[in-house]
Amino acid sequence: MAEMRLEGVRKVYGGAVVALDDFSLDVADGEFVVFVGPSGCGKSTALKIIAGLEPATSGRVWIGDRDVTEFAPARRDIAMVFQNYALYPHLSVRSNIAFGLRMRHQPRVEIDRRVQEVARILDIESLLDRRPRALSGGQRQRVALGRAIVREPQAFLMDEPLSNLDAKLRVHMRAEIGALHQRIGVTTIYVTHDQTEAMTMANRIVLMRNGVVQQVADPDTMFEQPANAFVAGFVGSPAMNFFQSRLTKGPDRPVIEFGDATLPVQLAPDIFARYAEQDVLVGLRPEHMSIGNGTHSTVVRPNLVESLGSERYVYFPVPTANTVGHATFVSQDEDRRANTMIARLMNVGRIEEGAPLPLSFEPDRIHLFDPASEQAIN
């Protein structure tokens, strides 16, 4: 087990395409770090560079106290779990798990003992003599995990290990990997495009976009204090709502307008001075709205209501005055149409589409972003 360090790692393809830009990160011993972001954000490239499967254009990689930048993958003492599991199809499950130990010339008795033990931990003892092709997706996943943990490496690298599983199994394996990490405590870097996986599993999340790290934080911080509009829109489901409003001076605090509601926001005086009487980008999570009239409320007309049983997603249009002209942070949620907002309402009765619906807001939960740079300002 070891800590890990990336120093200014950069990856450029063909001299022009920047896949990874100046990536630096310290990972503590035993930490579970998740790289997350939309496809093409550089997270897999980063993982491959750590594994030694791809050269970095510049920068250095440290595992423990060794600079492994020039090391072949074999010498880095890491284990990796792949999205397609990459089990050796010509070998039995037993030989698959033992492969890494054999390559390291461990004594046969020792190999057998460790394979048995790992099989017991993962509950795959009955599968040891089968071929990978005779296994179900979940079983393959376990074998792939077994092949990684049997080696007792310095670190685990996992490249979207759950994305080939169906939804139910994914939730189950998510918990299981979490438990496994608790139990053996090996430093783990886990790559996924699924923000739920990131939020539930990580000690720390590295959120990436177009090869650039957007924010490094623990899940709660990332949810509550997103560094920019992209992070805010990426984390959380349904994704954060965005609209535009003029920031003006209110009775005691600065205010923004949403429809006919006036919402006070918290903002440092010097920041307010910079943005006063200008448009800002406002972010409001769907769960921070509730039904009924309150101190800060407005009436909307839902154009779609989805019921999930205990909660309802209410879709309604953004008031014309608040529409966002252009947004580069485009939410990952492809179903969201531009300038539609979602309210996530718990335990409410029937809601009519098209009928007026009073909604109240929690002003303290409002996020403000610079409209140009999209950086958080409050």
């Binding site: 560079i49 030694g52 060794r66 600079d67 090391f71 072949a72 074999a74």
Partner: protein
Amino acid sequence: MAVQTDLQNRTERTLGSSSWIGRLRALDLSSPRHADKLGYILLAPAVLLIFVILVYPILLSVDLSLQDVDIPRIGETREPYTLDNYTKLFGSAEFWRASWVSLKLIVVVTSACFAIGLATALLVNQHFKGRTLARLFVALPWAVPEVIAVVTWWWMFDSSFGLINWLLVTLDLADKPIAWLSQPVPAFLVVSIVMIWKGYPFVSIMLLAGLQAIPEDHYQAAKVDGAGAWQRLFWITLPSLLPVFGVTMILVVLWVFRDFAVVFILTGGGPIGATQTLSMMTYEQAFGFFRMGFASAIGVVTLVICVLATRLMVSRMAKSMY
């Protein structure tokens, strides 16, 4: 610079290694930094072999075609450059006749191969018991070496005791046995039949693979829309096969154009040049009359035609598909 030495020191200290080991390690071809070098090393033997047995001979043959040379000796001073071989070639009636024979052979053999190949492929694409065996049988002539196919058909077309003549006479289709290989048209026919028999299995195998790649739901959808068997053939099967058709056609045409053994063994190009293809002419000039410079010129022209025809067909096909 200072940072780099510092890093190096740290690396070496942690490895506890002296500098030559460090240098050796730097040569580790599995290191991400050196992976590309391994790519070149793996490629090198093949490139070397290809140079010796393909690139150099091709260059040599182009070189030969530009000399007035009979039997070349490597290392001897070469004859002066001349385009004589090419001017002689394009001026000779024999060349144009051989081209015409090649073209006729391509048209006849290719179309017959496609007719038989498509029919057999459609047949064994049906679901029935024993179709694995039927598939194996239908394409079996592919496995018969050309020389053997030629002698077998030769025997069947034997003018005195051949089965075909007996059949034709018995069925009153001919009044006397036909001397197949000593008359121009029948000789051409025999050459064509042997090549068709050798060539159709390839078409059949390819089209069968193409047929199996057509998703079943296309047929289901067509059936729901009320298309009959023939309509399904014309509106779904054949259009879906078009890309496979293209590739297969190129390969068959190239094969017919370049083939040599069938004509050489059966007729040697005769009678009176009726089966003299460009390939046959090349070989005869080179190893019959030992005019290797001239023969090389024919060969080079053949190669150029092959490349041009392929390119033409590929671009045509690409256009018709989109």
